[in-house]
């Protein structure tokens, strides 16, 4: 099992609330990622980070923001949640020493439902 943890596992909230999805890894990985996945669909990269104080937007536009103040921690924040944000959010990390795309370790995901 990978040492990467996401909380909460499930979150049901009302429209307009601010939420933070937590992701932590204990493997010392520099590279971390957030993917969004709708049921039965492929994963879309929404944010990634190559190290402390490094964050980039992914291929899928997202209204969420991320921060990377510590190597092990990569939280995702939605300032004002809307029903269109309902989805599963998956955090991942990789050792990624080179630039050739090494394997990813995934957390269990956060299933977000916005009413």
């Amino acid at each position: 099992e990978a040492d990467i943890y996401q909380t909460p596992r499930y979150l049901v909230i009302g429209t307009g609330k601010k939420i933070t999805l937590e992701c932590s890894q204990t493997m010392g990985h520099d590279k971390m990622y957030w993917y969004q996945q709708d049921p039965g669909m492929e994963l879309h990269l929404i944010h990634y980070s190559y190290g402390v104080n490094s964050t980039e937007k992914g291929d899928l536009s997202s209204e969420s923001t991320v921060s990377r103040i510590r190597t092990e921690h990569f939280p995702l924040t939605l300032e004002s949640a809307r029903p269109s944000h309902t989805s599963q959010y998956l955090c991942a990390s990789s050792a990624g020493q080179g630039s050739r795309g090494e394997k990813l370790f995934f957390g269990s995901g956060t299933q977000l439902s916005v009413l």
């Binding site: 590279k31 990269l45 990813l104």
Partner: protein, 111 residues
């Protein structure tokens, strides 16, 4: 645009049978990876095959890569009910280290 497309979208077999899933992609790659996802959970890495490799084995898994056809296949031999899951291919393109995931194949193995 989507890099990987998988075929079939869904597959149902009996325990003991082999399961074959295919992945096609559009651009040149550095490597291709296969992941497994149990319902409502995160993904687990199964195997990575580099662009200069043609075949790789890991336990009951066999992966092939044909770069001329831009396709890969995942074979699970002697399947078990516990193999029931969705299987995704993911490609790493040249000059990037980000993975692009396919649409997945949902495998159901009946006891």
């Amino acid at each position: 645009s989507q890099q990987g497309e998988e075929d079939p979208q869904a597959l149902s077999i009996q325990e003991g049978e082999n399961a074959t899933m295919n992945c096609s992609y559009k651009t040149s790659i550095n490597n291709l990876q296969w992941y497994r996802q149990n319902s409502g959970r995160g993904l687990v890495h199964l195997i990575l095959i580099r662009s200069n490799e043609r075949e790789k084995h890991s336990g009951r898994l066999r992966v092939t890569l044909d770069t001329s056809k831009k396709s890969s296949s995942l074979l699970i031999t002697a399947s078990r009910a516990a193999d029931t899951a969705s299987y995704f291919c993911a490609t790493c393109g040249i000059g990037t280290d980000k993975l692009i995931f396919g649409t997945g194949t949902r495998l159901q193995v009946f006891p």
